[in-house]
């Protein structure tokens, strides 16, 4: 980078471009600007009653650790080995076959070997071997063990916050090791020492206080949706009437707060409002928003199991308070992983709710029997399948669409075909990216798991390279100009990713495309899409 310019004599001394060939254990960590997120604001850490809230700076030598930090880590590992059998197994069974090594978008994009999932896990495993296995205690380095030091701790922090917990690597592991779970535990351990990043800690504190990551208070949340009501009226001639915190509604709708405040997610949000209005007019669909459970995302998931549980419980507490039958969930990524893989054993069973049944088609969502929460894409696909939506796909004729499978809905809950079915019914031009970059093999956006901050842009852009590279291919081959997705983080981070790698490709949520195509009863002639851009054939 330009800020570490060398003097001419230093330059001459360094004409060899080959990096030093040291083993990974002997290669010290270099905390590089652009690759890490700022340290957690102590106020946020304190608000959550998490330990060791303090000002600290990752690039300074002194991280102001508690004196007994090694003991805390040791006991933290021991405790988790007892509590999580998966963690113990993942520590023991890796044979270092390397099947995962080249599957990580961060390794592929940054070229840093410590981003190979096997090596990232080894950062923690080496300490486990040293402190908890006989072979490691006796043979040390020969058995792949090393003692815990401040350098190791910094290496953990740097690399476990260079993993988006996307689980692509786990798809390729012959032993089924979920490396994301290793990152989850490592981040828990770091949190025992107050070593979170601010982009996670502050949203979590906000969510705990106001119900959403952005800290939007109930009146502002309502105001925002009312701005959308005005916009929608201008576009469609129809005034939608969203309801808030309404007791006795059939269904509670929960979506990421990013949809309410961040473009282009806001257009997806307007899409939800239009769809719900249509369903109410046509079929008496009865749904309410909540200004308290106003966040689907759960950055607690990136902090600790306990924090995830606390944030998730608010959604169900609100469902109980309002007395709804079940919950409909919007286009979010990790919300679905939390719901699908953790909620039932964490805060479930939600037996005060009913098994979700579509009031319009009668379809039983048996897959959501435990959590009582249905994904909007499944719900919409079912509506289309039963011919319940009047659609004019030609309104999306200016779009050549491809679909980015968001990691969590795709790998975390198997939502692969429903979004595609919806897109194909609302757009005429749909093109898949190459098979090894979609569905279960999808490449992460590079900014998930709380890494969508601004200060780590180099990390985000390099981690997003494999995804962008596949988009570039369909952009050049088929003229694809729209990247659809079902995740709020994707909607926030894919636009800058496209700006850097594939200019000319825009980003949309699924429901925005649906709402553009949806023919509302009594609407005026639609001239623009939800973005206010002229519809095909309506250009001046």
């Amino acid at each position: 980078m330009a800020d570490d310019l060398l003097k001419p004599d230093e330059l001459l001394a360094r004409t060899d471009h080959r990096p030093p060939a040291t083993g990974w254990m002997d290669t010290p960590v270099n905390i590089r600007k652009g690759m890490y997120c700022y340290a957690a604001n102590p106020k946020s850490v304190e608000y959550l009653s998490l330990p060791y809230a303090r000002q600290w700076n990752p690039v300074e030598d002194d991280w102001k650790l508690p004196e007994n930090w090694k003991q805390i880590i040791f006991e933290g590992i021991r405790d988790r080995l007892d509590r999580f059998r998966s963690f113990k197994i993942f520590m023991d069974i890796c044979v270092r076959c390397g099947a995962c090594a080249d599957k990580c978008h961060f390794f592929i994009g940054t070229g840093d070997p410590k981003n190979m999932p096997v090596l990232r896990a080894e950062l923690l495993r080496s300490i486990y071997r040293n402190d908890f296995t006989t072979a490691g205690k006796i043979f040390g380095k020969v058995a792949g063990a090393r003692p815990m030091t401040a350098e190791v701790l910094k290496e953990w922090w740097y690399y476990f916050f260079q993993c988006t917990e996307c689980r692509r690597c786990s798809v390729f592991c012959p032993y089924g090791i979920d490396t994301a779970e290793i990152t989850i535990i490592a981040r828990e351990l770091l949190n025992l020492l107050g070593l979170n990043i601010d982009w996670i800690a502050t949203p979590v504190a906000n969510c705990f206080r106001t119900g959403n990551h952005l800290g939007i208070q109930p009146h502002a949340f309502k105001d925002m949706l009312e701005f959308f009501v005005d916009d929608l009226e201008e576009i469609t001639g129809i005034r939608v009437e969203p309801s808030f915190n309404r007791k006795g509604a059939d269904i509670l709708f929960i979506t990421p707060s990013g949809d309410v405040f961040a473009d282009p997610g806001t257009y997806t949000c307007m899409g939800y409002m239009l769809l719900f209005h249509y369903l109410r007019e046509k079929y008496g669909f009865d749904i309410t928003w909540s200004t308290y459970a106003s966040e689907g995302g759960n950055f607690g998931f990136f902090t600790s199991h306990e924090t995830m549980k606390r944030l998730n419980s608010k959604m169900y507490a609100e469902a109980k308070r309002l007395g709804v039958k079940w919950i409909l969930g919007g286009e979010c990524g990790h919300m679905w992983r939390v719901i699908h893989q953790y909620m039932d054993t964490m805060n479930g069973p939600a037996d005060f709710l009913e098994e979700p049944v579509s009031p319009i088609t009668g379809t039983k969502f048996e897959n959501a029997r435990g959590t009582k929460m249905v994904h909007l894409s499944e719900f919409t696909a079912d509506l289309i399948k039963h011919g319940k939506l009047e659609l004019d796909p030609s309104r999306n004729d200016n779009l050549k669409v491809t679909f980015h499978d968001s990691c969590n809905p795709a790998r975390g809950m198997g939502l692969l075909d429903e979004p595609r079915y919806v897109i194909k019914n609302v757009c005429k031009h749909f093109y898949e990216m190459p098979p090894n970059t979609i569905r279960e093999n999808t490449f992460c956006c590079g900014s998930g798991s709380g890494l969508n901050a601004g200060e780590n842009m180099e990390l985000r852009l390099s981690g997003g390279l494999p995804r962008a590279n596949a988009v570039k291919y369909v952009h050049e081959k088929h003229g694809v100009n729209m990247l659809a997705c079902v995740c709020a983080i994707d909607r926030a981070v894919l636009p800058p990713l496209m700006d850097y790698w594939v200019p000319g490709v825009d980003v949309t949520g699924l429901t925005e495309l649906v709402a553009n195509a949806l023919i509302l009863p009594g609407e005026k002639e639609r001239e623009t899409n939800l973005r206010g851009e002229p519809l095909p054939g309506m250009e001046e």
């Binding site: 070229g111 090596l119 105001d223 850097y500």
Partner: protein, 175 residues
Amino acid sequence: MSLKELLKKKETAIVAQWFDRVVNTYQLDTSRFLKSQKDAFANPVGNTLLQGLKAVFDETTDRMDNETVISFLDPIIRIRALQDFSASKAVGFVFFLKEIIREQTAKETQGNAALQAEMLLFESKIDELALTAFDIYMQCREKVYEIKANEVRNRTFTAFHRAGLVADWEEEPRH
């Protein structure tokens, strides 16, 4: 034989060696992967390098069309501008070509004044290439900072605007 013909004859060896040297600017585990994985979507860095270096070499030995050179050099630099390289190391791989060509043509150029004169001209082309690479590098770095700045601006401005805290120009009070 002219230098151009000589370089064409040795193209495969030169490009392979150039690719090898660029790949070796990465750590050992990474360079092994960059060389071995042939799928363009599983290994975008290796693939971009291989395609790009070949095309840039072709262009340098041919008409050196600036736009074509940029179109192949850009994807390589775009990647290296984000990775753990200083500016000089991100673009310095262009100069590897000088050494490689000197090595590859040493026998033929020895005592051949005409070839040596051509070689000097050709090396100037590589210098030009390096300057172009530097321009691209700067554009990429500026783009990164532009994206960072826009993110901050959009986040705050859009929120303020939606909250009605920003007065539109038309609504400015008249004095």
